[in-house]
Symmetry: C2
Subunit: 301 residues, 2 copies
């Protein structure tokens, strides 16, 4: 029967591509690690590491086995966590990823409440684009991620806690002041400025307008909503902003107007995603409820 130790050692070798360094990283002698690897390879009936005395490299089959070994290790780690973090929720650190078009608008609304209810809870936030976060959740690098759906999250589970529409934001001087709603047909697409490719907000905004990525003003593809808003304030064009960002972006700029985009919605749905079999699901659903409640309280319409 193979052992976890063997897998642990093998993963260390993969990381260092060096038996001595791997051994040090594992706090064992090089010889102990060396025999463990040899024994593992014998038991599996295959070669994981191609090694002459100067180079170590991973075989093709080795890569496959090692990636499975990572998964085993992940599951074991979760088992240990299960046993220790035992019962008491929010006693261990949790790392959650969030995309740039949600983080700055959602987190200020919800983090104070979380700190209030669970003062012991250590929450670490990272910010990346959706596809990066999805990979990280799959790998177990992070506990969960907050994304806007629709997005391809095959094999993951989602807990939706909010859905919202887009608002068309323009300069007061450049739109008739009576308008209460606007449809995509009434938008001057050529003047529309959106985030640069890779941000799901752009895809969702275009989808809400039933547009493919073709016509809007791509000279100004921007890196952040804040920049976009500054450009709108500078009368360079207009943009679309999700509801949860309105308060921060618009109401600090009295020159701007936000008008509801009247297209069938919701235009994006916000969800926490986790791996299936993830062990801290209970905490995630508690978070989900807090997120939902705080958004209901603090989002302007």
């Amino acid at each position: 029967m193979i052992s976890l130790k063997q897998l642990h050692y093998a993963l260390a070798v993969e990381k260092n591509l060096h038996f001595k360094k791997a051994a040090e990283a594992c706090n064992v002698s090089q010889s102990a690690l060396s025999t463990a690897i040899t024994e593992l390879e014998k038991q599996l009936g295959m070669t994981i590491f191609e090694r002459n005395n100067k180079k170590v490299l991973v075989t093709d089959e080795g890569h496959v086995v090692l990636s499975k070994a990572k998964r085993v290790k992940l599951e074991v780690d979760e088992l240990l966590q299960l046993a220790s973090a035992d019962q008491k929720p929010f006693s261990n650190t949790m790392t959650i990823g969030v995309i740039p078009t949600i983080g700055p608008y959602l987190l200020p609304k919800v983090l104070p409440e979380i700190r209030k209810i669970y003062p012991e809870f250590k929450l670490k936030i990272i910010e990346e684009q959706s596809h990066v976060l999805v990979d990280m959740v799959r790998n177990g690098d992070i506990d969960s991620a907050i994304l806007a759906l629709p997005f391809a999250i095959d094999g993951l589970m989602s807990f939706e806690f909010w859905q919202e529409d887009f608002y068309w934001v323009s300069h007061k001087d450049e739109c008739s002041s009576q308008l209460q709603e606007i449809t995509s047909e009434e938008l001057e697409i050529e003047k529309l400025m959106l985030l640069k490719d890779g941000h799901c907000l752009k895809d969702h905004a275009l989808a809400a307008c039933s547009l493919q990525n073709k016509k809007q003003n791509s000279d100004f593809d921007s890196a952040s909503l804040h920049t976009l808003i500054q450009m709108v304030a500078g009368k360079l064009g207009s943009t679309l902003v999700p509801q949860m960002a309105l308060d921060q972006l618009i109401y600090t700029e009295s020159e701007l107007r936000a008008i509801h985009l009247n297209e069938p919605g919701p235009h994006r749905r916000i969800a926490l995603i986790i791996r299936p079999n993830y062990v801290r699901t209970k905490e995630i659903t508690l978070l989900k409820d807090i997120f939902h409640d705080e958004l209901m309280k603090k989002c302007i319409v």
Copy 2:
């Protein structure tokens, strides 16, 4: 560091609820197993088994940890499989579940081809309803399942290989012979006979007609499509049949007519589902392609 052996022993105790029997099942002495369990509990800092000298029972936290241990074991088994079954696809037995409204119509069309291409391949088929199969895939009891979508498969991955519409099947005497198409509005819903609850075919058929489960003739909720067809032949009413079943059901009964149901479709999508991280994905996609090709060849329209 905990070991796989400990987890293995613990799972044996869970299964037998008896240290001696568990020890025999593991081919070790009772004392060896006993100390291993004690050590595991010490390392995890919790009690897994509540045991006085006459009874063994699993604690609440124990259940949680043991279910995680099962998952670890599953992943390790897959790792071993990866190493051995290595390289040569279709050399190991594979178990696939299929629902009753697909199996009898799909398998005769595809199994001969599979036997021809991969004569060594041992494929075991089980037949259950969708929700059972989904659970079995999640648990790793079976390698994959063939289902009709839409169906709730959160956390699983799907490979769709076919989509099809329903056909309205009635007795020749009971419908005008010129009809080429029929819409749900033209259907006499009260005479419509469907499978009994629990079969996703019923849900898909009703969804195709934009109906909730309310009006159709539920006196005849049947257990199989073959029975339904016999009842249609007996002039007890009409029914809806998926395309892939037409050849077997209808063209052996010359008294019947099948007419395409003209509602926006496809009315159901057929897919292979697997757990994410499942190791034999390559074989599944090969199967998927065979399924698709054979259906294209052999399905009548």
